[in-house]
Structures are given as structure tokens and as C-alpha cells.
């Protein structure tokens, strides 16, 4: 790059960036649409404030572990603040179950640190390799959404570095706090947060697994689980096989679970001695440059069938470890490469209850195309949070991992967007890498409120990202 970096444009209104060591091409977890940014890893508040006060022409955005699939944590031509240096747990109240930690602390770290005291993260999304800042910015949810809501609900305070270089404490119920939950990092840089935790007596899960023959049966089973307000199970997740043909379309494995109380452990079980043990295994990591063989339709079909057949027709009360229950894919090395060199799209949407027909139509369209979705996960969601851009709303949420290389996929997803928006649903912006900006207003009716807050808080758009540019947030 030497030749070009020496080339300076004199009369133009753009200055040519002179590349240095810190400039890197960055993409999201889906590995699509990489852009160049200067990556800066602040080591303390002072350095973070300095970065915000000298943002350059193209602003900055905070980034955690880069698990968002799309372009939420990249900033072309600008600065990306790598927050993983903010990795200290600041204070733990083991009696009340409250932790204060810096934004770069991962959920994995919180589990390691807090399980021995009998506390667990209040919301467990599909990976524990995400930072607290990222979990708030994306307002993530897990299989316990109807019971526990999304991540932001459990935050009792956060420290936010806003565009003016001030560090503010934001409290629940204030517009700034609300906009920050699910705010995709656009309201400020989250420096630290205080979280309320969930008490557990053991690190084991009591799991019920069952095979469900089709989508309708699955929805009925999931709805049953809700019971009279008091959910029978805290966590429910269903993996759907969208490659199965004919009557099998939409067959699924439904997994539901609860934390096991100490007294419910079988006598002589080894967990009686170490009830709060937490030792997640990892498969050996292959060298990063191995050209992975992308999962094709045949392989995904095979995996899906295997997953379905291997699941018991119905099994109740099996004991599983936390990682095996919550993060079965976290152990797979380079699992974001399985869809091949072109990368993949994660399409996560929700349609409100009462719009089951829309869900059926969408599932049928995907199944008809024979797309190798891996994985395809259905959740029930409960009441949404107060964030104007927070994703959850009461309804059915389906998340699909789709290889980019499928012919016509872009157009198909555009059509599904219309179906979703028409049903009063929305797609998850934290995962998004492709939605049309025009589709947004219908999906997020409070978008203008968010824009107005940003305009007042950050008139020069210091905090910005590729996602914000693409969608005009």
C-alpha cells in the first residue's frame, strides 16, 4: 500500500488516509462487507474520552467481540474502539446478586466469576462470547425471554461516554438509558454497567427434549409451556429442520430446561460435591487458514436429520451442563466459517402473536427453496423492552443462518422482509447486514424518536457505524 499512501490529493475535498499499523479491514461475524477502520484499544476512561473528543471526519463506534453478524460494529474510514481492554469486574454483591463490571467483560467471564457464588447471567443468548457492552447495545435475548425479558431489563445503571466527551450515568426509565438498550452503540460508548443476576444452586440444567413433527405442533407445544403466566420451564428453544420435505417440513427438536436446585440432584451425583462447577470444553482449534468445506444442502440436510433422529422422541429430566444446554455451538472452532468463504447472513425476525400465518408462509417459502439454513432457531418472545430500537416484541422469533452464496437469496430476504413488516413484525438490526432502509420505518415505529434523541445528543454524528450509514439511523 506504500505507493498509494504516498499519493496525496491536493485540490480535492477528501484527504487521502495514510495507512498505519492500526488500520484493519473489519467485518461482522458473518464475514460480509468488510471495511477499513483504525482500530483503537483504549486502556482506560481517559483514552476513551480522548478518542471521542478527536473522532476524525468519520466518527467512531465501540466494538466488543464482533459477534454481531452484520455491520453494526464496523465504521468505514473512521475509528473502531475495541472495548475488550475494559475487562475488569468492578464489584460483586454476592448477597444481593448484583455485579458492576466494565463493558468489555464477556458473559463467559461473568459465568466463571459468579457461578461459584451461586449467580448466573439473567439472560443467556446463544453464545457466551459476547461483551456486556455488546449485550446491552444489541439488547440480546435468550430462550427465557417470556420470563426474563431482554438483557437491558436487568441493567440497573450504566456509565455512558457520550459524543460530547462527558461520562454520564444513565438509569433505567430515562430516555438516554432506554435508547442505549438496543441502541447499537449509537448513543455513546458504554464504559461499565451494573447488572442484577439470577440465583442458581447448581451449574446443571434439568432438560426436557422432544421431537415435534411439524411447525403447528411446535407452536402449540411452545405455547403450552407458558402456562398460566408462571412458565413451566424457564428456557425453551426449538431447532427446526427446514430442509425436510413434504409432511416433515418444519419438524423440530424442542429443548426446554430449568436450573436444578441442589436438593433435586440425584443422590451420589458428583455435582453434590461441586454443585457450581463450570468448566466448558472446547474442541481443538484448527489453523485459521484451513479452507473450510462449506456446508451444502446435503450436509445441512444430513446434520438436521441427525439432530432430529438423535434427539429422543421425548425425554424428561436429563441433567446437562450449562454450556451444553445454552451454547452447544460455542465449542465448535471457527464456526462462522462453516457456510463457506463468502460468509453468511443471519436473518432474525419476529412476527407478533396472532400472525402465525405469516410465520407459516415464511417457513414454507424457505423450505420450498431448499436453503441450507444452519441453524434455524424458533423462540417465543414476551413483552418488549423500552428501547426504541430494541428488537423483541411479543411474538414468534425465528433466526436463520444462511450462506451468502445461495442464488437469489437477497431477493428472497427482501420479500420476506415485506411479509414480516406486513405482519407487524421486524428484523433484528444487531444481526442485520442487508435490510432495505425503506423497510425500517414500518418495523421500528419509534425510529424517529431514536433519530431525534441522537440528533440532540450527537449533532455531528460522532458515533456512527456502517449500519447507521447504511440505514440512515
Amino acid at each position: 500500500m506504500r505507493a498509494i499512501s504516498g499519493y496525496t490529493v491536493t485540490s480535492m475535498a477528501v484527504e487521502t488516509r495514510v495507512l498505519d499499523e492500526d488500520c484493519r479491514a473489519i467485518s461482522g461475524w458473518g464475514r460480509t462487507a468488510p471495511t477499513l477502520a483504525r482500530v483503537h484499544r483504549p486502556r482506560g476512561h481517559a483514552e476513551a474520552v480522548e478518542a471521542v473528543l478527536a473522532p476524525g471526519r468519520r466518527g467512531l463506534v465501540a466494538r466488543g467481540l464482533g459477534r454481531a453478524c452484520g455491520d453494526a460494529a464496523q465504521n468505514a474510514g473512521g475509528t473502531v474502539l475495541d472495548m475488550t481492554g475494559f475487562d475488569r469486574v468492578l464489584a460483586v454483591d454476592t448477597a444481593a446478586g448484583v455485579v458492576a463490571c466494565e463493558a468489555g467483560v464477556t458473559l463467559h467471564r461473568l459465568m466463571e466469576a459468579l457461578l461459584p457464588f451461586g449467580w448466573f447471567v439473567p439472560v443467556a443468548p446463544g453464545t457466551r462470547y459476547m461483551t456486556v457492552g455488546g449485550a446491552i447495545g444489541a439488547d440480546v435475548h435468550g430462550g427465557n425471554h417470556p420470563v426474563s425479558g431482554s438483557f437491558g431489563r436487568h441493567v440497573t445503571a450504566l456509565e455512558l461516554l457520550t459524543a460530547d466527551g462527558r461520562i454520564r450515568t444513565a438509569l433505567p426509565g430515562t430516555p438516554l438509558f432506554d435508547a442505549t438498550t438496543g441502541g447499537l452503540g449509537l448513543t455513546g460508548v458504554i464504559l461499565s454497567a451494573t447488572l442484577r443476576l439470577l440465583p442458581v444452586e447448581t451449574s446443571l440444567m434439568r432438560v426436557d427434549t422432544e421431537r415435534v413433527p411439524d411447525l403447528d405442533a411446535l407452536m402449540t407445544r411452545l405455547a403450552d409451556g407458558d402456562g398460566d403466566g408462571e412458565s413451566r420451564h424457564r428456557y425453551s428453544t426449538a431447532r427446526i429442520d427446514l430442509l425436510a420435505r413434504g409432511a416433515d417440513t418444519g419438524r423440530a427438536v424442542l429443548t426446554r430446561g430449568d436450573h436444578v436446585p441442589y436438593d433435586a440432584l440425584p443422590r451420589r451425583h458428583r455435582a453434590r460435591r461441586e454443585p457450581l462447577d463450570f468448566r466448558p470444553g472446547r474442541l481443538p482449534v484448527p489453523p485459521p487458514r484451513v479452507p473450510g468445506v462449506p456446508l451444502g444442502r446435503t450436509t445441512v440436510g444430513f446434520l438436521n436429520t441427525l439432530w432430529y433422529r438423535a434427539a429422543p422422541r421425548a425425554a424428561t429430566g436429563r441433567l446437562r451442563s450449562l454450556p451444553a444446554f445454552f451454547h452447544p455451538l460455542d465449542g465448535v472452532p471457527h464456526r462462522n466459517r462453516i457456510h463457506g468463504p463468502e460468509g453468511f447472513v443471519r436473518y432474525r425476525f419476529v412476527v407478533p402473536y396472532g400472525q402465525e400465518d405469516a410465520l407459516r408462509r415464511i417457513v414454507r417459502r424457505i423450505a420450498d427453496r431448499g436453503l441450507p439454513c444452519f441453524p434455524a432457531v424458533l423462540h417465543r418472545l414476551g413483552a418488549g423492552g423500552p428501547g426504541p430500537l430494541s428488537f423483541p416484541l411479543p411474538g414468534w422469533s425465528l433466526a436463520l443462518g444462511l450462506p451468502l452464496g445461495q442464488p437469489g437469496l437477497g431477493r428472497l430476504l427482501d420479500a420476506l422482509d415485506e411479509e414480516v413488516a406486513g405482519a407487524g413484525g421486524r428484523v433484528d438490526l444487531a444481526e442485520d447486514s442487508r435490510v432495505r432502509p425503506e423497510a425500517l420505518a414500518a418495523m421500528y415505529p419509534r425510529l424517529d424518536e431514536f433519530r431525534a434523541l441522537r440528533a440532540a445528543l450527537d449533532p455531528r454524528s460522532v458515533l456512527t457505524s456502517d449500519l447507521a450509514r447504511r440505514l440512515g439511523l
Binding site: M1, A3, I4, Y7, V9, T10, S11, M12, A13, V14, E15, T16, R17, L19, C23, A25, G30, T32, A33, P34, T35, L36, A37, R58, G70, D71, N75, A76, G77, G78, E342, G343, V345, L404, G405, L409, G410, S433, R434, R436, D466, R469, R470
Partner: protein
């Protein structure tokens, strides 16, 4: 910004009346493109081209641009980038010249070279610098299969494209790791108004097919695209045909 599929939201076409350029713009407007800037020599044809794209719903403006006037490139194109991000630049200008006449008219022959090569070097560097400053974007360069091996029938044009092709490849390597993507497109003979009346060549293609290949190449972030794709194999063979034999081939 481009989406995951590489579809740009804003497009700058250098050579705003080019048939391939307009076919590509139409195709991209059907995907994500909302802002189009057509750079070219002011003419009724350029205005009409802008109108035709505006009818599809895009925000279109024309920008005065002459490939031969390299001194003006920085200023003219710089203005476009100053107005907002350009997600994709399509370098589509070029002239075929008239081989038979140009062989005895060196001034005209030099003009072919200046347009296709020198003009593209200048405009290409200006755009690459600006794309680099914004940290993202694609520069798509329309080269030609004629540049792959010079033919008796069109070596003036062919050599200018050979130079352009080599330049664009080098630029692509220079841009590697900067977030800027340079894609060299090598169409075979494209059926269009420029080639109307000429004898149909084997492996001919259409502006729409080139546009489709560009859309696909953007998604794959390809460095080289042949249209039709089978040309790649054919040219791999043609490249190694011995000169005495190649001279006698009816290509």
C-alpha cells in the same frame, strides 16, 4: 454502504452513456442503489441516460467529465465524493477507434490509447484515493478480452485495454487490505450499438449479461470476472497458441 451481498447504495459511472454502464445501473437500482452519478461529456445522450434512470426511482445527476482532460479529474470527481460516500465506481468509458483508419492516423490512434489507458489511469487513481479515504467501496473496471492477447484486427484498442487491465490488477493489489475492492471485468464481444453491424463473434454477450456478472462479482468480491464465464478457459488456451498459428486464426 454496500449490503452483505455487495449491492451498493450509491454508484458513480464514468462514461455515463455506456450501454454496459447503464445496464449495470439499472440492475443495481433494482437492488439497493438510490444515488447515481453519471460522469461523461455533456450531451443530449447523457441527459437522456440520466432521465431513464430517474424514471426507475433513483436520485440521478450528471457530472461533466472528459477522460482526455486528465488535469480536471481530481477536481471533477473529487466533488462527487465530497457530497457523500460512493459505494461503487464503474469505470465504463472507452472507445474502440477504427483500427483500419487509425493505423494510418497516429493522432487518432493515440487518442484511443489516451482515452482507454491514460484517462483510466488518472480517473482510476483519483477514485481509488477517494474510496480509500472513505474506507470502503468497489472500483469496477471494464477491461476487455481484447486486452488478453493482441489481435491483428484490433491491436490498437487491444493494447490500450491490456495496459488498463494490468493497471487495474496492480491497483487491486495496492488496495488489498484497505477495504477497497478493485474488480476487473473482461467481457467478450458485447452486442450493442457500438458493435451493431459488425460480424457476430463467438462467445458474444450482452450488456445485461455483463451487468449480471458484475452483480455476482460484487457479492463474491471477485478480482476478475469474465463474461461469459467460459471465456476464462478459452483465453487460457488462446494465450498459449504460438504466434505463427495465432496470426492465421480467424479471430
Amino acid at each position: 454502504m454496500k449490503d452483505a451481498f455487495g449491492a451498493p447504495q450509491s454508484l458513480l459511472v464514468l462514461g455515463g452513456t455506456s450501454e454496459i454502464g447503464l445496464a449495470t445501473a439499472r440492475r443495481l437500482i433494482a437492488r439497493r442503489t438510490r444515488v447515481v452519478r453519471l460522469a461523461g461529456r455533456p450531451s443530449p445522450a447523457l441527459t437522456a441516460a440520466a432521465d431513464s434512470l430517474r424514471a426507475l426511482g433513483a436520485d440521478v445527476r450528471t457530472v461533466p467529465f472528459d477522460a482526455l482532460d486528465t488535469a480536471s479529474h481530481e477536481e471533477r470527481l473529487g466533488k462527487v465524493f465530497a457530497e457523500g460516500d460512493v459505494d461503487m465506481v464503474l469505470l465504463a468509458f472507452g472507445v474502440f477507434g477504427d483500427q483500419a483508419r487509425d493505423e494510418s492516423d497516429p493522432v487518432a490512434a493515440a487518442r484511443v490509447a489516451q482515452t482507454n489507458y491514460t484517462g483510466a489511469v488518472s480517473a482510476g487513481l483519483v477514485c481509488a484515493g477517494a474510496l480509500q479515504a472513505q474506507g470502503h467501496g468497489s472500483l469496477v473496471v471494464l477491461s476487455s478480452v481484447a486486452g488478453e492477447r493482441a489481435r491483428r484486427a484490433d491491436f490498437i484498442y487491444g493494447s490500450s485495454k491490456a495496459g488498463l487491465d494490468a493497471f487495474a490488477q496492480g491497483l487491486g493489489d495496492a488496495m488489498h487490505g484497505t477495504g477497497v475492492h478493485v474488480m476487473v471485468v473482461r467481457p467478450g464481444s458485447v452486442r450493442s450499438k457500438a458493435t451493431a453491424g459488425l460480424a457476430e463473434e463467438p462467445l458474444a454477450t450482452t450488456p445485461e449479461a455483463v451487468a449480471g456478472a458484475i452483480e455476482l462479482g460484487l457479492r463474491r468480491r471477485s478480482e476478475t470476472v469474465w463474461v461469459p464465464g467460459s471465456l476464462q478457459m478459452v483465453m487460457a488456451a488462446v494465450r498459449h497458441v504460438p504466434r505463427p498459428l495465432f496470426r492465421r486464426l480467424p479471430v
